[in-house]
């Protein structure tokens, strides 16, 4: 039996849909990072949408992505009896796939060259990071989340995201030192 929906209620539901719909893809992406599987990601996002809908009155309208990602993180914790720290582990799966240059935009040929030169060393450097640092790096640099959004996923303060990110990037950059040197003169 469906309940009667008042005009106010209908407007609120439409507003909710407008805010949430553009975030579905990033929710799925982050959910896949957390769960490590596309099927589990769908279950997690579906449950998160239901919870977000129920919590609609507590949403202040600002930063919908961070709000939704907080719900994804909490839902994930609730769905698993044992509370585990969030692991962002899809970077390995990413490398089971082929490079997708040109899928989004076409980078300059020289950039493709430099990035391909770096890629093997980059994978190794990211693999060697402490998972705490790697999570911050993957969420911000690979998945393009803001500091606040990454903080929402990891359940840590923004300052912690920034310091982990900084350490992760610096370690990766240092590990890639020799590769950078060889790419330097070949750009022009």
């Amino acid at each position: 039996m469906s309940e009667a929906i008042t005009p106010d209620d209908a407007a609120r539901r439409r507003a909710f849909a407008e805010v949430v719909e553009p975030e579905i893809e990033v929710m799925l992406r982050v959910a896949r990072s957390i769960t490590g599987s596309a099927a589990d990601a769908e279950d997690l996002v579906q449950e998160s949408l239901v919870r977000a809908f129920r919590a609609i009155d507590r949403f202040d309208g600002r930063h919908p992505r961070a709000w939704l990602l907080t719900i994804v993180r909490n839902t994930n914790s609730n769905m698993h009896r044992r509370r585990r720290p969030i692991a962002v582990d899809d970077w390995e799966l990413i490398h089971a796939s082929r490079p997708a240059f040109g899928s989004v935009e076409s980078p300059a040929a020289e950039e493709v060259y430099v990035v391909q030169e770096l890629d093997g060393a980059l994978q190794a450097a990211v693999a060697g990071l402490d998972p705490k640092f790697r999570s911050a790096l993957v969420l911000v640099d690979v998945h393009d989340l803001s500091y606040a959004e990454a903080a929402a996923v990891l359940d840590v303060p923004v300052g912690t995201v920034m310091s982990r990110l900084s350490r992760a990037r610096e370690r990766v950059r240092k590990a890639l030192g020799p590769t950078f040197t060889t790419t330097r003169g070949e750009q022009s």
Partner: protein, 92 residues
């Protein structure tokens, strides 16, 4: 302060702000004054400009990883259906 020491201090100052400059994240903006000072320093400092080039390249290389494993559009569609059902009151 000697020129070399001044340079070193500014390199250190720049290194501490480089991430915030490159990310330009709304949670941690630099002031316009800091941005100007950083840009002026990097324009004349080979070491800092090389560090910046490397960070940009790293970010670019990492951001391309996301395109390797795109989200399945069918998965997005199924979640849209879930959302539609929710707002139409077909699922609570």
């Amino acid at each position: 302060m000697t020129g070399a020491l001044r340079q070193m201090v500014t390199c250190h100052w720049t290194a501490r702000r480089l991430q915030r400059y490159l990310d330009a994240d709304p949670a941690a903006p630099l002031t316009p004054g800091e941005i100007t000072r950083l840009e002026e320093h990097v324009a004349t400092c080979e070491r800092c400009s090389e560090v910046m080039r490397q960070h940009r390249l790293l970010h670019r290389a990492l951001s391309l990883w996301s395109g390797r494993r795109p989200v399945d559009p069918a998965s997005v569609d199924r979640m849209r259906t879930v959302l539609d059902d929710l707002i139409d009151g077909r699922q609570t």
